[in-house]
């Protein structure tokens, strides 16, 4: 098992990369809506779930079961 420090050492850059990809995807979506407002789906639940997930991840005072909660969030 890894120590907390080892987890950061091993996965910091990978996490940074995933966050950048996420940011880029949301930017891509926003630019597309600005370019083509008519082609933007209204109240798409997928987008709501993404932002809900981000709020969940941003909460530092939580329990280490984020993955399970995210999967439940994306489940029917």
């Amino acid at each position: 098992m890894l120590t907390a420090g080892q987890v950061l050492n091993n996965y910091f850059l990978e996490t940074r990369c995933m966050l950048l990809e996420l940011a880029a995807t949301l930017d891509r979506y926003d630019r597309a809506t600005q370019r083509d407002p008519a082609g933007t789906p209204a109240n798409d639940p997928r987008l709501e779930r993404i932002y809900h997930s981000l709020a969940l991840l941003a909460d530092t005072r939580t329990t280490p079961d984020r993955c399970e909660r995210l999967l439940n969030l994306f489940s029917d």
């Binding site: 850059l13 990978e14 990369c17 950048l20 990809e21 880029a24 995807t25 930017d27 891509r28 630019r31």
Partner: protein, 272 residues
């Protein structure tokens, strides 16, 4: 589709890379001089390295029908050792005469120190004296903004033609200033660090591709030359035309590198 890989560290890779690159349409690579993963102790070690990339590596690439070009320089990390760097710089002009050497690079900053800056300036001056193209490395990760800013400040006080300078490893937070100042910019696609294929296409869509080079670098660290092809696929999947893809991934390297007469590959036009 024909592709030019403008930043590729072939000596760190196996022949299988060349074979697979050839099968995927790569017709030429350009290999900048870089850090070997450890600091070299002797000037002669650099000179042998320059011989390797200017004499031997073209023969490896040629076995797969790929043209191999290179750049020579003291890389930013080893520029921290000025006595060693000056000794190497004394020998660089003899390599500039070789038929596949395109210019001086990659130079610039690693930690943006005084020593690095002194050697960076010395190498830009050397390039100007010998009318060479210049390839500039910008620092990785948290040092990138400061290093890129200082790079532009240093260049602004030197008599460089921005159209003959390529500033590489650019990302979303460093792209605007070099483009506004007239330099060529490069996206280096890495699996984890630097830019990703999708983010590169985002920036192409935002900023256009007039002075833009995309490469995957590919060295001895975690890297993959095929992130370049991944980027081309992403670009095409978003509906951009074959001609636009050729303009970015083949013709732009021809336009920039072709400012050195030794690089004689011509742009391709498939759509009228």
């Amino acid at each position: 589709m024909q592709i030019i890989q403008p930043h590729y560290h072939g000596i760190a890779r196996t022949a299988q890379d060349y074979e697979r690159m050839a099968m995927s349409g790569v017709v030429a690579v350009a290999e900048p001089a870089f850090w070997a993963g450890f600091d070299r102790a002797y000037p002669q070690t650099f000179l042998d390295y320059f011989r390797q990339i200017s004499e031997f590596e073209p023969t490896r690439a040629a076995q797969y029908g790929i043209r191999h070009f290179c750049w020579v320089a003291v890389n930013p990390k080893e520029a921290e050792n000025p006595p060693l760097s000056y000794e190497v710089l004394r020998h660089i002009p003899e390599f500039l005469k070789k038929p596949t050497v395109l210019g001086i690079g990659e130079i610039g900053f690693h930690k943006t120190t005084k020593n690095e800056e002194e050697i960076f300036q010395a190498q830009v001056e050397l390039a100007l004296r010998h009318h060479q193209l210049i390839l500039i490395h910008t620092p990785h990760l948290q040092d990138k903004v400061r290093g890129t800013r200082r790079t532009l400040e240093v260049l602004a006080h030197m008599n460089v033609d921005p159209g003959r300078v390529w500033i590489d490893h650019i990302e979303e937070h460093t792209i605007r200033a070099p483009l506004d100042a007239g330099y060529w910019v490069g996206f280096t696609l890495y699996p984890i660090t630097k830019c990703s294929p999708k983010r590169a296409v985002d920036m192409i869509e935002q900023y256009g591709h007039e002075r833009l080079l995309v490469n995957s670098s590919a060295d001895w660290g975690p890297s993959d030359p095929f992130t370049l092809q991944e980027c081309i696929l992403e670009f095409r999947r978003r509906g951009h035309s074959l001609q636009e893809a050729l303009d970015i991934f083949h013709n732009n390297p021809c336009r920039f590198l072709g400012q050195c007469p030794k690089f004689d590959i011509q742009p391709i036009r498939v759509e009228t």
